[in-house]
Amino acid sequence: MPITITAPKAVRPSYAAADNASDDSDSDASSDNGAADLEGDIPMASSRRKEDKSYSIVTPGEVITDDPQWMRGHGTFVSPSTSAIVSSVAGTITRTNKLLSVRPLRARYTPEVGDLVVGRIVEVQAKRWRVDVGASQLASLPLSAINLPGGILRKRTETDELQIRTFFAEGDLLVAEVQQLFSDGGAVLHTRSLKYGKLRNGVFVAVSGMGGGSGVVRSRRQVWTMEAANGAGPLDIVLGVNGFVWISKHVETPEALIAETKSATTGITNLEESVSTTMYSSQNDRIGVETMREISRIRGVVTALVENGLRVDEDMLVRGYHEAVEMAMLGEGPDDIYLGGERGEQLAAALTGV
């Protein structure tokens, strides 16, 4: 069946919190002392969240509480005339001790120092690149913040400035770390580590980052290598905190190469030089058919997770991938790597059912 057309569904079932949320707002609207209800609600909501089951959703302008014991955090404001804390975004309430904040359901990525991000070059300037990381502003990557070929410690020269486009050009994808933030929220990136740099040998997929539960979340590991099924060999996965995901054929990391060769041969500088040669390459290695299939399958898992409102992190993705491989093996006919529509829902159900 090449095409499926379905009628719209009333409510997406994945987060059954809709009932709770509407209850909250109903009580707010109907009763004058709704705040008192709510006060009781907050700990409830957070205790529920511990079970990872439900959320209470507030909308902009909705009074969260007028009890002065609470402090306002992100996503809230205090109206000038009263002391009530009002939500300024649509999202879920988070309570940290006495601090109330609202995490938006959908938001652009807000960079934080130390975040590992995947970005795309959109503009090349005289001494820096402008990088799209899915935030409200373009991040910048100064020429001084990258590793130059021919040894990490090489001094930046004028020639480098003139040939800035040979390192990164418009459209290039890179993995980098947020080094610094400006007061206006703009981020400065750096790639001064061998694990950062230009991306190749794989596919890119952008999902919403940092949303209310779905998308990529900050976690212990954003980058890992996993063994793929069907003899496809190891794959590298980069989950940018900003929701940009890169899935590629595993390439021996430069660090590993160095460690390997260091013991065997001589001076380190030479090695680093030889290692850094591929740093700015835009030529793909030879990639096997099986590897390509598994890369597509993982990409399918990522989109299926997001479409069904699940978070994307290492645990979910690895479990999801194994589930997907299993699903494909159980299914009749040739191995199907497609994970959209119903198959995606099946996958999500299998994952949440555990």
Partner: protein
């Protein structure tokens, strides 16, 4: 779509006069019939370098069908560039191609405005697709080229009525002329191309007789045929045997795919013939 820059007269308020004297009655009933062979195109005149101030230019005229009051197609094309992009435009590793096709207000029976109407923009998009396949865009980074075509005279008879639905077929003829003339102007401007692209039209026509079977002709003149069932306009690169633009319109049952292929083949044939003129004309400019 309103002209925001000047005050115009009422749009579309004029209706072209309908003459009802006897002569026309006679002419209207006696359609001129096609005297050319089905696989022959009209004679055309092509000359490059007609506009000295432009980087490249060409002029194309296609023979009239020999009937009074019917003019052939007359096209003029100027190419400006390669030239630098506007200051604030982003970096481009390729040449940026922009095409403008404009009918002169007096080119067709129904007067056209000064602004490009949707059909002219549509032609421009077709032309862009046809040319983009032909040029080698990465030879000219950070530059742009404007290709401007004025259709000075459309290929329309005075007494063919607008409501006949011939419009699209006229557009196809115009497009094929645009492709050929733009290709000549590009070569004149010295912009790298993989080949000389030329346009050609083929149509499936049906005569007026009851039991006339449909036949395929190339370079059709809509007024010469009782009914055009389908037509296609092809932009073709002869040296590479590749099509850069294909525009087919008509109504063709799925079991007539053979006819469709034949139509495309004939379109290619028409394009090859036009290309011969193009090559000849380019050769002459050098002497």
């Amino acid at each position: 779509m309103a002209d925001r820059r000047r005050v115009n007269g009422p749009v579309g308020a004029t209706i072209p006069p309908v003459f009802e004297d006897e002569d026309v009655q006679v002419q209207a009933t006696q359609r001129t019939t096609r005297s050319r062979a089905p696989n022959g195109i009209r004679k055309m005149y092509l000359k490059t370098g007609v506009t000295p101030s432009a980087s490249g230019s060409a002029y194309l005229e296609i023979e009239t069908s020999g009937k009074d009051g019917v003019s052939g197609l007359k096209l003029s094309c100027t190419v400006h560039g390669p030239r630098s992009l506007p200051r604030l435009s982003p970096f481009s590793p390729h040449i940026i191609l922009s095409t403008h096709v404009k009918f002169a207000p007096f080119a067709t029976k129904q007067r056209r405005g000064y602004l490009r109407d949707p059909s002219e923009r549509d032609l421009g998009t077709h032309l862009e697709a046809a040319l983009r396949g032909a040029i080698i865009a990465d030879r000219w980074p950070k530059s742009g080229v404007d290709i401007i075509i004025s259709i000075i005279e459309g290929d329309q008879g005075r007494e063919t009525s607008g409501a006949q639905g011939d419009d699209t077929w006229d557009m196809m003829n115009a497009l094929s002329g645009c492709i050929t003339v733009a290709s000549a102007a590009l070569a004149d401007a010295g912009i790298d191309c993989v080949d000389t692209v030329a346009g050609g039209v083929a149509a499936l026509v049906r005569g007026s007789g009851e039991n006339d079977t449909a036949r395929i002709v190339i370079d059709p003149i809509p007024s010469e045929h009782e009914r055009i069932e389908a037509a296609c306009c092809i932009a073709y690169l002869p040296a590479r045997d590749e099509i850069t633009n294909l525009w087919f319109k008509g109504d063709m049952p799925d079991h007539d795919m053979g006819i469709y292929s034949e139509l495309v083949q004939q379109g290619i044939q028409a394009s090859k013939l036009a290309n011969r003129v193009l090559v000849e004309s380019l050769g002459e400019t050098v002497k």
